[in-house]
């Protein structure tokens, strides 16, 4: 494991910002820290960089505990949430800063060559002499990245690298970051609260909530097999249906399904999670949750159908347009909602 966190805790006063976080990142891997605002993502990055000291636990880089190594000797590339470019320096001076302060200091020609190479990499040639204020958000972002790469970091940390950018630029830079990562093969951790971004760019995703890790896995694992209710709700649309769990059986209105993993529970409350595209509609008698169609939205080739069950709870269903047309349903008609895939967790709704 190239970068490793072991049981890291961090509190600010009596507020626990990070609790018992353990994480291992392989060399050359790009990992996303995904979580809502305030879940401790930035704090975790700052702990890795050494800008924050953990109350407990260890940080290892390349197998060595870095507790005794000062921030400036850790050789970590950090791209800050708001870039933190040096406002009185030009683009070239910003990018060359890490080399300029190095001891022994490389020659001016060597620095210039490296700066040129990096600006080429981030597609910012010709802007060497501009100041940060004369750049767009996306350009600042790329300068910040070039500046971090200049010191040939052992680990690259990016804090919401695309947070302040509009959707279009975001999408472009996202692909570009992935490509850059594939070319340089650097070990990286980036923070985001955009699930689409995490799923698209990262090799593995770490979902965080209130300072804890909820789940670690590949984008597919995270999306298809959420380990906790939180992950279910945080990633993508999901319907939450209250149910009862009794000796290995979960009962919903009009539906029972086996939950052998909870065979120890008897008549306990639970919540069933089902994604809109895992729900189907059928007419006539049979299993399924009785619902009434409320509202239909056409979204290109697919259809989103809003339905309500007997308890007044809204259920969203998503299906192809052809399938919807074949059903011959419309607002006000009754149907059965049948889940293809569903996951039950114990707990109150």
């Amino acid at each position: 494991m190239y970068l490793e966190l072991r049981n890291v805790d961090k509190a600010f006063g009596d507020f626990q910002a990070v609790s018992d976080v353990s994480l291992a990142v392989r060399e050359g891997e790009l990992v996303a820290l995904l979580g809502p605002s305030g879940s401790g993502k930035t704090t975790l990055l700052r702990i890795i960089a050494g800008l924050e000291r953990p109350d407990r636990g260890q940080v290892l880089i390349g197998g060595t505990d870095v507790a005794g190594i000062g921030v400036q000797y850790r050789q970590i590339g950090f791209v800050f949430q708001h870039y933190a470019l040096f406002r009185h320096m030009t683009v070239a001076q910003n990018v060359g800063f890490g080399l300029r302060v190095r001891k022994p200091r490389p020659s001016a020609a060597a620095i210039a060559a490296k700066v040129h190479e990096l600006l080429h990499l981030v597609q910012m040639e010709g802007m060497e002499h501009r100041y940060p204020t004369q750049l767009s958000g996306g350009q600042r972002q790329r300068v910040a990245l070039a500046r971090a790469l200049a010191i040939e970091p052992r680990v690259l940390l990016l804090d919401e690298p695309f947070g302040a950018l509009d959707a279009q630029v975001r999408k472009e830079l996202r692909r570009w970051l992935r490509r850059l990562h594939d070319e340089t093969g650097i070990t990286g951790v980036f923070v985001t609260h955009d699930q689409e971004e995490a799923l698209e760019v990262a090799d593995r995703v770490v979902v965080m909530n209130t300072g804890r890790i909820e789940q670690v896995g590949t984008p597919e694992e995270i999306y298809d097999e959420p380990a906790t209710p939180f992950v279910y709700q945080f990633l993508g649309n999901v319907n939450r249906l209250p149910c009862r769990i009794d000796r290995g059986q979960a009962t919903l209105a009009g539906l029972t399904l086996p939950v052998p993993e909870f065979s120890g529970l008897s008549d306990a409350p639970g919540i069933a999670f089902v994604r809109p595209h895992d729900l189907d509609l059928a007419v006539g008698d049979g299993d399924g949750i009785p619902v009434t169609v409320r509202h239909v939205v056409l979204m290109g080739p697919s259809v989103r159908i809003e339905t309500v069950d007997a308890a007044g709870q809204t259920l969203e269903v998503e299906m192809s347009r052809a399938h919807w047309n074949a059903l011959a349903l419309g607002p006000g008609t009754r149907a059965r909602a049948t889940p293809r895939q569903m996951r039950v967790f114990p707990g109150e709704a």
Binding site: R74, Q75, F78, F97, V101, T133, A148
Partner: protein, 283 residues
């Protein structure tokens, strides 16, 4: 840009003119007239008398003392101001709010009281008086006392200017420099100092103007020994009390000239400062 947004006023012309005249009249009576008087009185008996007055040995001694005092007080408060605002803006520590209030103390205490504090501490009858006398160290009614009082009175200028500026800038750039491998000294010289240079210069200017013009505190600790412990403001007072008006106003005109230069420099700096601040934007 602002001109395009703000609608032209719709007040009657009389009100506009009235207000403008009132403002100009006020400035004229309370600022321009006294300043003009200083120069007029100084030159009342011609340039020769003026030159004689400003080259009088006592006047020269006063100028030298004022320059020495400023030359010691300003650098001291520059170093202190930068250190204090750095600590206050970039770190969290116990007693931070106490430190901020203490920095303001010299502003809230009357300068005469400040002077008296030093007499009380270091005067012959003061707390440390006997000890100082025993070791043959003279602070009060001597140059060191004047410097001490001036340092105290001009203490807040640099820090007051820098604290809000540094707080606004935050410490992200310093952190970025640290991660990139810069040492503490490199961070200060390459990142912090360039970011605060205009504010710093501005604070130093104000500090210097006050250091040279301070009267109250210095008057209490000086003892008014002619040619020895008189600064320029004290010299002006003595000459005036002795009805040597030309001489008094001549020395005063030098102080006034200094004030004008400071004002011009300040205005210039404010322009630069505002420009760089605007350029730095929200980043």
């Amino acid at each position: 840009m602002r001109r395009a947004v703000v609608a032209p006023t719709t007040e009657p012309a009389l009100v506009q003119w009235g207000l403008t005249l009132a403002a100009l009249g006020f400035v004229g009576i309370f600022l321009v007239l006294p300043l003009g008087t200083v120069f007029a009185e100084a030159l009342a008996h011609g340039p020769a008398a003026y030159l004689r007055a400003v080259s009088d040995p006592d006047a020269l001694a006063a100028m030298r003392l004022t320059l020495i005092t400023a030359a010691i007080a300003v650098p001291l408060n520059l170093v202190f101001g930068v250190a204090a605002s750095w600590a206050i803006a970039k770190f969290d520590f116990r007693g931070k709010s106490v430190l901020i209030s203490l920095i303001d103390l010299p502003f809230s205490v009357s300068p005469v009281v400040s002077g008296l504090i030093f007499v009380l501490l270091f005067g012959l009858q003061g707390w440390f008086g006997p000890w100082l006398a025993a070791h043959d160290i003279k602070l009060i009614f001597a140059v060191p006392g004047i410097v001490l009082a001036t340092v105290f009175v001009t203490f807040p200028f640099v820090a007051r200017e820098l604290i809000p500026l540094m707080q606004e800038q935050g410490s992200e750039e310093e952190e970025a420099a640290l991660v990139l491998g810069a040492s503490g000294r490199q961070i200060f010289l390459l990142v912090t100092l360039p970011n605060i240079r205009w504010g710093l210069l501005y604070g130093v200017l104000l500090c210097n103007a006050r250091a040279m013009g301070e009267f109250g505190a210095v008057s209490v600790v000086s003892g008014h020994i002619r040619g020895l412990t008189n600064t320029m403001p004290l010299q002006v007072e003595i000459l005036y009390n002795e009805y040597q008006f030309v001489a008094a106003f001549a020395v005063a005109s030098l102080l006034a000239g200094l004030a004008l230069v400071t004002l011009a420099a300040k205005t210039l700096l404010e322009h630069r400062f505002a420009a760089t601040r605007a350029a730095a934007g929200k980043d």
